[in-house]
């Protein structure tokens, strides 16, 4: 078992190096492996697709840079999808680290698609208070967010005159990295105000959202970067998530190999000891 021993005692920095290479090389030389769209992602797409043209959608981007690679592509795709359908967006953020990320997406895609701030979209910015913000926001958007992201009173934004609560909106899109996020929105707002809701979650959080899918509390789910790539495919606008899928595949395969190899060594050692 000399080989196994050597392998087992290998400095873990070698593993680190291989991980780095397996991520970087596919990014440099993409294979463009074929992607299949899963049920929950298809449902997400269809829920957005079903929003009537001209209506208003609330988008809560509850994340920060730590999960940006997973959640920014989803946010971009959702904004693009909604703008394409001439749906107007009211955005808000409950994580202190992320508001500028969401704001950048809104303005970049808004400018690209000829949308006007205050009329076609509004970014209400950040509020602390976690669960306390949610029902409060559901009761009155303007009471909870008297000013927008850059301090403009919401009374001066024409879009905000059209909707002050969820009865005037067609869908609630939540992009969520954890607490507070999709779970809390479901608990505090979805049932209480009878809101149609979809969720884009980090992969870590995604398994916990499945019970809400089957129950209909959440209509669709994008899980992690793979979910983001599936959505990019659905709206036919491939972006960074799609381009990351080869690297994701190779790194996953490496971890599978590591688990199997680690156990092969372990079991052969156990047999030898017997």
């Amino acid at each position: 078992m000399a080989f196994g021993d050597t392998l087992e005692k290998v400095d873990r920095r070698w593993i680190f190096l291989v991980v780095a290479l397996l991520v970087v090389i596919p990014l440099l030389f993409p294979l463009r492996l074929p992607l299949a769209v899963s049920g929950p992602a298809r449902n997400f797409y269809q829920a957005v697709e079903a929003v009537p043209e001209g209506s208003i959608v609330v988008l809560a981007g509850d994340f920060d840079p730590a999960s940006a690679p997973e959640l920014m592509p989803m946010t971009s795709s959702a904004v693009r999808h909604l703008f394409r359908k001439n749906v107007r967006i009211i955005a808000l953020e409950l994580w202190e680290g992320g508001p500028p990320l969401v704001d950048r997406i809104l303005h970049e895609i808004g400018d690209e698609m000829g949308k006007k701030y205050g009329v076609d979209y509004v970014n209400l910015g950040y509020k602390s208070g976690r669960e306390a913000v949610m029902p409060s926001f559901g009761n009155s958007f303007s009471r909870t967010f008297p000013n927008d992201y850059s301090g403009t009173p919401v009374g001066k934004l024409p879009l905000m005159a059209e909707a002050d609560n969820f009865t005037k909106t067609a869908l609630f899109v939540n992009i969520s990295a954890g607490y507070p996020g999709t779970k809390e929105w479901v608990q505090q707002v979805q049932g209480r105000f009878d809101v149609k809701m979809v969720s884009g979650s980090t992969a870590v959080q995604a398994p916990e959202i499945y019970p809400y899918l089957q129950s209909g509390q959440v209509l669709g789910l994008l899980g992690g970067m793979a979910g983001a790539a599936e959505y990019e495919k659905s709206i036919e606008y491939p972006g960074p998530a799609t381009k990351g899928m080869d690297a994701q595949s190779s790194a996953h395969m490496f971890i599978v190999v590591l688990i199997l190899l680690g156990n092969a060594i372990y079991f052969s050692r156990r047999r030898a000891n017997r």
Binding site: P135, P146, K243, H252
Partner: protein
């Protein structure tokens, strides 16, 4: 290759590499970046809370003359001020009123939120038809769901020893739990790898300009 001409991008790239250097071993560059990060984020949060929360939701309405029900903002402000007495041990006890109010608010919100979304709604959604001759696949899936929910609940039942029928049921519950942990493991791996992909995309695209993402 078109390396970035933006000074900020070079700073960001350098800090990224400083932090990655921890993988080789702990070193002063990593320590520097770690502490810089804690400092920057602590400072960032204070400014953020002030301009986006305290200013529009407390200070502005409390100081503007025409605000309806201004007393509400004064009382709210008083609760905030009381919180800061925690910095001064002699009067720190007054912060208890603020904490008491906050805890009461959150306890109330969580009780109703969880009872609706996590208990009643989940129980309702588990009541599914178990036999439909026209849709055997769907019936089987429903059965898998119902058995899983019930056996998992039995596993988390603490008033009887796990022996006999209860033990066997709880055993099935553990299998379900293990499958769900396996799925969680797979998804966690996915998340972590994605974060590294994001950083690699930054280094290769924004900084070095080797490929465009």
């Amino acid at each position: 290759m078109h390396p970035s001409m933006d000074f900020g991008v070079w700073v960001a790239a350098a800090l990224t590499l400083f932090i990655f250097s921890f993988l080789y071993k702990d070193n002063p560059l990593y320590k520097f970046a770690e502490h810089l990060f804690v400092g920057v984020s602590a400072g960032y949060v204070v400014v953020q809370q002030f301009w986006q929360v305290l200013w529009p939701n407390l200070i502005e309405p409390a100081t503007a003359a025409g605000t309806p029900d201004r007393w509400k903002f004064f009382v709210g402000g008083l609760f905030c001020v009381l919180l800061f007495t925690r910095l001064f041990p002699a009067i720190a006890w007054t912060s208890r009123y603020t904490i008491a109010m906050l805890i009461g608010t959150f306890a109330g919100l969580k009780v109703t939120g969880f009872s609706q979304a996590e208990v009643v709604e989940q129980v309702r959604a588990t009541m599914v038809p178990l036999w439909n001759a026209a849709d055997l696949g769907g019936s089987f899936n429903n059965l898998v769901l119902v058995v899983g929910v019930i056996t998992t609940l039995v596993f988390f039942f603490f008033s009887k020893e796990h022996k006999g029928a209860i033990g066997a049921t709880a055993r099935v519950g553990i299998w379900y739990l293990m499958i769900s942990f396996g799925a969680a493991y797979g998804f966690t791996v996915m998340s972590r790898i994605s974060l590294l992909i994001g950083r690699s995309q930054f280094l290769l695209d924004d900084w070095l300009g080797i490929v465009r993402f």
